[in-house]
Symmetry: D2
Subunit: 497 residues, 4 copies
Amino acid sequence: MAIRTAQQYVESLRDDRVVYFMGQRVKDVTQHPILRICANWMAMDYFLQHDPNYQGLVTEKNEDGELVAFVFMPQRSAGDLLRLREIVKLWARVCYGKPPGAKFVGKDGLNAVTVVTQRIDRQFGTNYAERVEEYRKYLEKTDAAIVEAMTDVKGDRSLRPSQQKTHKDYYVRIVEERNDGIVVRGAKAHISGAPLSNEIIVLPTRAMREEDKDYAVSFAVPANAKGLTLISAEPEMKDAGNFFDYPIGASLYLNDAMVIFDDVFVPNERVFMKGEWPFAGQVAYMFGNFHRLSAETYKAVELELVTGAAALMAEYNGLERASHIQDKLTWLVLYTEATEVLGRAACEHCVSEPDSDLVYPNPMYANIAKFFFADNWHQATKYIQDIAGGIVATVPSAEDFMNPETHDMIDKYLGGKDGIPTEHRIRLIKLIRDLTSSYEDVLTIHAEGSLAAQKLSIYSLADFERYKAAAKRAARIKDGTKHPIFSPLPEFPIEIA
Amino acid sequence: MAIRTAQQYVESLRDDRVVYFMGQRVKDVTQHPILRICANWMAMDYFLQHDPNYQGLVTEKNEDGELVAFVFMPQRSAGDLLRLREIVKLWARVCYGKPPGAKFVGKDGLNAVTVVTQRIDRQFGTNYAERVEEYRKYLEKTDAAIVEAMTDVKGDRSLRPSQQKTHKDYYVRIVEERNDGIVVRGAKAHISGAPLSNEIIVLPTRAMREEDKDYAVSFAVPANAKGLTLISAEPEMKDAGNFFDYPIGASLYLNDAMVIFDDVFVPNERVFMKGEWPFAGQVAYMFGNFHRLSAETYKAVELELVTGAAALMAEYNGLERASHIQDKLTWLVLYTEATEVLGRAACEHCVSEPDSDLVYPNPMYANIAKFFFADNWHQATKYIQDIAGGIVATVPSAEDFMNPETHDMIDKYLGGKDGIPTEHRIRLIKLIRDLTSSYEDVLTIHAEGSLAAQKLSIYSLADFERYKAAAKRAARIKDGTKHPIFSPLPEFPIEIA
Amino acid sequence: MAIRTAQQYVESLRDDRVVYFMGQRVKDVTQHPILRICANWMAMDYFLQHDPNYQGLVTEKNEDGELVAFVFMPQRSAGDLLRLREIVKLWARVCYGKPPGAKFVGKDGLNAVTVVTQRIDRQFGTNYAERVEEYRKYLEKTDAAIVEAMTDVKGDRSLRPSQQKTHKDYYVRIVEERNDGIVVRGAKAHISGAPLSNEIIVLPTRAMREEDKDYAVSFAVPANAKGLTLISAEPEMKDAGNFFDYPIGASLYLNDAMVIFDDVFVPNERVFMKGEWPFAGQVAYMFGNFHRLSAETYKAVELELVTGAAALMAEYNGLERASHIQDKLTWLVLYTEATEVLGRAACEHCVSEPDSDLVYPNPMYANIAKFFFADNWHQATKYIQDIAGGIVATVPSAEDFMNPETHDMIDKYLGGKDGIPTEHRIRLIKLIRDLTSSYEDVLTIHAEGSLAAQKLSIYSLADFERYKAAAKRAARIKDGTKHPIFSPLPEFPIEIA
Amino acid sequence: MAIRTAQQYVESLRDDRVVYFMGQRVKDVTQHPILRICANWMAMDYFLQHDPNYQGLVTEKNEDGELVAFVFMPQRSAGDLLRLREIVKLWARVCYGKPPGAKFVGKDGLNAVTVVTQRIDRQFGTNYAERVEEYRKYLEKTDAAIVEAMTDVKGDRSLRPSQQKTHKDYYVRIVEERNDGIVVRGAKAHISGAPLSNEIIVLPTRAMREEDKDYAVSFAVPANAKGLTLISAEPEMKDAGNFFDYPIGASLYLNDAMVIFDDVFVPNERVFMKGEWPFAGQVAYMFGNFHRLSAETYKAVELELVTGAAALMAEYNGLERASHIQDKLTWLVLYTEATEVLGRAACEHCVSEPDSDLVYPNPMYANIAKFFFADNWHQATKYIQDIAGGIVATVPSAEDFMNPETHDMIDKYLGGKDGIPTEHRIRLIKLIRDLTSSYEDVLTIHAEGSLAAQKLSIYSLADFERYKAAAKRAARIKDGTKHPIFSPLPEFPIEIA
């Protein structure tokens, strides 16, 4: 069927999936007043596929001549990655900095197994790559909303999966192998949009050792698979549809869910790794390459919005000429644009997978980009809150602003610079409150891997031999080591007569 | 009547005050499900006055032999300030880092006018100090809940009060002078607890020039004064009484309100400044001295809590030995203890008001203490969120945890270190979410004056003559200036044979 | 004659130029024990032009078929800029992070006037571009060592050039116009390598107003021009040729000089701007674009060295596995690689000059790159000093290490990890001391324009309309403004049935 | 003899000590042109003891009625510690931020063994405290210049003393026990002023285990003890006596030396610990308490100077009204004053040693104070360099300024704000260069223990039980633990009717 409409997507969700929300089993997720907001956000992907302004960017004819989502196709060049990045930017711009989850994370999971199953097959003689290719075609044809599930619930963080004491299910694992498939148990946390998805692709969350073999598992299941339970996180937003008080929150409910696998059967054709433990870390790492780039991309767009909100607030308050305000705005611009450059460079300088026509984002740059924006986020928050003032915490509600008994008082007293309607100023204040929340903070530093995860990657990717060769040459340390860049260089002093 | 009970306080609020909340006029604030939470928090002050563990600290016999709140008495020594500080710490410990607003800010407003009216009277021959003394006695006897209102709504921040274009009421001002009093108009923002207070003391928010004379006004009114409207901010908390999901938020609702003066009459005996513009800045500044100390004091207690939550989370996750976690905890400890030291020093090294028996907190140290904690808050937030993990954003609701259909799954999978009940871990996660919010961020940097306000104070208080004398001596710059510390010092080199 | 040898370059410096150093007039700069070190460094450029490994990179045939320095040719594509960048990287790698000044800054001055004189000619009908082209050909043929002189001495920084009180010569200015040229007066500061150069190209240092017309002047003169005096800065290095104690300092003496124009005559053909004040700022700004890129490029190489020294020190001390050390090394890697990426992007995304075949580095990225490395430099210094330990401050001298009476004691006690020769460790310590100095700090933040200069550029280049459009759309502020990126986007909520 | 004159001190140094400097054995340290600068600095202590302005502060009558240095007396109250602090401030103000080493570090070593030997004696029945008391009296009477030697050279930092591979002498150790004393071997690094001292008191540098028993040793020796060799670090200063170019460097040469013990005999009466390994860490830690306070004290004075230099530079450049300059100055003031407060609090809130009349500085505050100033130093450096401008790196030499051929040019062009003599501005630039050096950086972060050492102390001193009790109470975690502060507090909600 290839690209679907928003309506077709929504209808596809009525399939008896097991979803809990705020203590209730939800019978039809598309009719639930809050979950529906998430569905609307997810649906934006399908909507854009039919928007003549953007269809050319987000869809492509596949080999069967069907119009399919470009993001389901394999990445074979820097150009492909840059187009992917443009799509994520479009998504993020439409959705105020949060790309709709219909395919956003799922595509990165798919890309990761696409690359790494080739490696597994080469070493173990398996046929996972073929299965992935079949799955990819299935996704193209069904235009499925696919999420990726990676982060295990982890239990005691100082212990490996097989060392856990309370029970052995803190990481998703194979509990039974059958001829036609496997049975899996465990739970994955923080899976945005899972209750509104069609497909869930599951990846291991870390490197494994041989004793963790059962935990080295990757597969895909439909969202209504038997044994699957989806428990929604408590939502941030209070008041569905109230775009005045929650201009972003009432539009974008990510509906992060815990996905629980209570002995779920997975048929062989959807199993992409089964005990090949040396590759568990590689899948996680390759997902990181793709997903940190995705992350940086939407964050660059979110920062555009944050910086804009700060600039506008300065203007509405009459402070756009104040030196210390300009100083903060300058920093926000730098933060925004450097994030953009660092992420784009991960595409432009992508890596070619050996013995393959695939490429993946430059791991060093993807990690630096993610770390850079996440590490500086709280500074940005501080600056925008500093510019906006205490009113972000104490702004009256929409109800009071609308109430004829109080409207005029609020309208009179919450004005800013002459000529700016008070309503505009209040809307902006609400936006800033929406942009700076505990939820947003945590998402920024933990989604797509914690700061520590990026640091680990950066350290392990670093070209220390080059760095040390530079230092040895400068310090005149002759210890017999050679380096192709530094050894041919002429030495000081040269003869100048 | 002197010290009241919590019940007496609550009853005193049924007085036809004009309070709006979420679009509704609230008839009886003590019966409103949300405002009642604020009342409960305010009442904690009255409750403690009768708690035998703490009565000795928080109350004192006045000259009439009545037991009154110590905080209503004038400050005459470092010991008084240190006791005041202990009271604020007690309040803040009881109330999870937020001292109950019954007298917290009000006392600082009262202290500020107590000091500055003496100065005004000396220059202008007025009798404001006597009025303040009468008012103080009234507060002692009625044991009133008193809030302070300072921050004007400000309009265009680049313009002075009298320069505003849209209208002239962006700062509270005198619109009419009568024989028996004055009529005031304007609005004050961010007045925590105002709808649950008995008295409101009003101070000017900044230094004024002669043309801003009408805005140089200070006075007190009851919360049900004719013409007064109190509009509550939209509350942070969603679910009154839900201590599981909002352990702090469901206990402490600050109920920040906008206080609107629509031509309110103030009798002469409650007017503490009327056009003496050179002192407007002094009142604001003196309030800052007292209130930045108060702020730092409760923040030191709040940081104790934040640091504890971080340490506990590390433990529950099994990460208390991880080097990078210990590094962050160390920083949190330093932040907590340095805040304590800096604030306490403002008491220990207080300033004696000339020609008076009053003292006030050391302005330099009070400002440094406030700036230090506010400037580092976002760093602390980042650290605790980093330690806590993504679950802070995606934790399920109490309802799902309590629901028998999902309880066991959540209980199984959200466990941490072996032996720690999952419920404890979830409660801690909820606490951390409650501690790190946009509201909290904004409160930290803007309450008690913005970072810029402290910087301005620090710069203007700095002993640059001493600093420059040190530099000139070291650089051997002989320009004829002398400094008592540096001029008598011997010069290099000395004769050593 | 086209490309010269190092020896030819050195001989060309014996031309009676007026150079002062440490209180002495230097008769022959090539024979002076300290200035000679600078000459050796400058000569490295000429040496590389004949090195078969690098000649292909650094030279090119011009239209006359002569082999000339590539850096003298105009920049017409991103490829040209990337090659320029590779040359600077080579220079910087050879010279331990400091590209030899023979053409390094001069080329950026030349590039700036190449672009901007086209603009002046278009507006004023002048023929400056032609003069620049002639001068460029002259440089190609003579293979001149050319430095650029921009920073005026400035006097009172709060006053514009024409407002200065003490005297009117704080910025270089035209004091006389003649038929055949102009006479200039003033002084330029911080001109690295000027006493060892052949040519000096002079640019205005800031935007000018009409009253500063006489200061809007750009020109070139030979280093031995009549009326020119070059006063060297006090050198950092103490002990010429001592590569043990000063592995970098004894190799690279930049010889920053003050260049004083005491009524120097400049013939018309070397005058590139004469009073066209609206373009003064443009030249300064265009120079910034080129030079901030150059700066970032050599700094990326210097950071490679700094990071290597830190990694090696950790290893030599046996601490390469310590978690807090790895944390700091990771940050250094990130700093190094992000600097590389940001600078390279300024080439990859260069700007085409309208009505011209010229390109110039992306101004936003060039400024961000410069700011990023300069703003973080002190942090890097702190980290490497922290890793290296107190011995950087207290390491004994080469003389003591060589002295047979003390050698064995030092050799025994200053050892680190077993197997690392003590001499290597000491050399590394000396290197780190050399890399972290007040000189280096100041160079990093002030060379190529101060942090404030980059901030000003970033602020003025920022696309605030885009940022604000994003914020308005999210906040649902409808004020009639339109933006090509945001206006076509679909609005929330969409219809999903 | 009690307090000596500067001359007496200098004469006492002619005692055949074995000192090496820049490859030469120095026969008479008092005649050496460079070491003499260090002697002059040390002598300042003796000079002040006779200065009528300061004698009352720095000296005291001992029980024998002799006037002795106050700093040799035991510390018995907060008042004693505050007076000690005033003395260090005086020293530091006289010596531009660097207290003369005559007794500065030695007193802290003496204080540390005074406290800890009491503990050792109680546990082991030894009589070390008596020996320390005798030694203290000896110091009072001889008015000796005493330095402390603590930091071992350490070899492989990942290995304990007894685990070292290359040799076993990387930490000072007992190589022979005799009836009348011990023989020690090893080397101590970074001992400022050792070549100009009379006495050296030696402390272990870290906690030891039983296998490191031989390294748990503390003792005192004269500077000319047989077997002792003192090797000076390479000095920072180039030009002895040149106060123009090196206003601080030419006054204060700290002469950090490596002190090598080549089988030095120590008689029993000077041995203060001999194998009591459980106390090795306690001595090191107690020294830290005293010395971090000392450090913070002189740093507060140095910061006064740094902040003054920055303020003066802003003024001389005409920029004292620029908003971004005032912002940086404000931060410098805050940094200066917070350092003062934190250090002073370590005295005011000192700890009483149990079963003793001794006190010592509050360890938590002493560590916080040290960490705070050290952690922020590079930021301060950056700010002052930013304010001062590139001229700090490129300022001409005194020789050029004095040379009549160039004086007028420099005088004309290096002027700043009208009315400020150029000479003053140049002197200030030289001062700033002197204040910001690699040496200064390293001293700041490594002297008195590295940043990591303070972090370790802060972590281990932290009252985590209090912090965690606060968090548990707020999160409503009932796990049976009790805390005296938190358990008695009333719980939310209270009954308010």
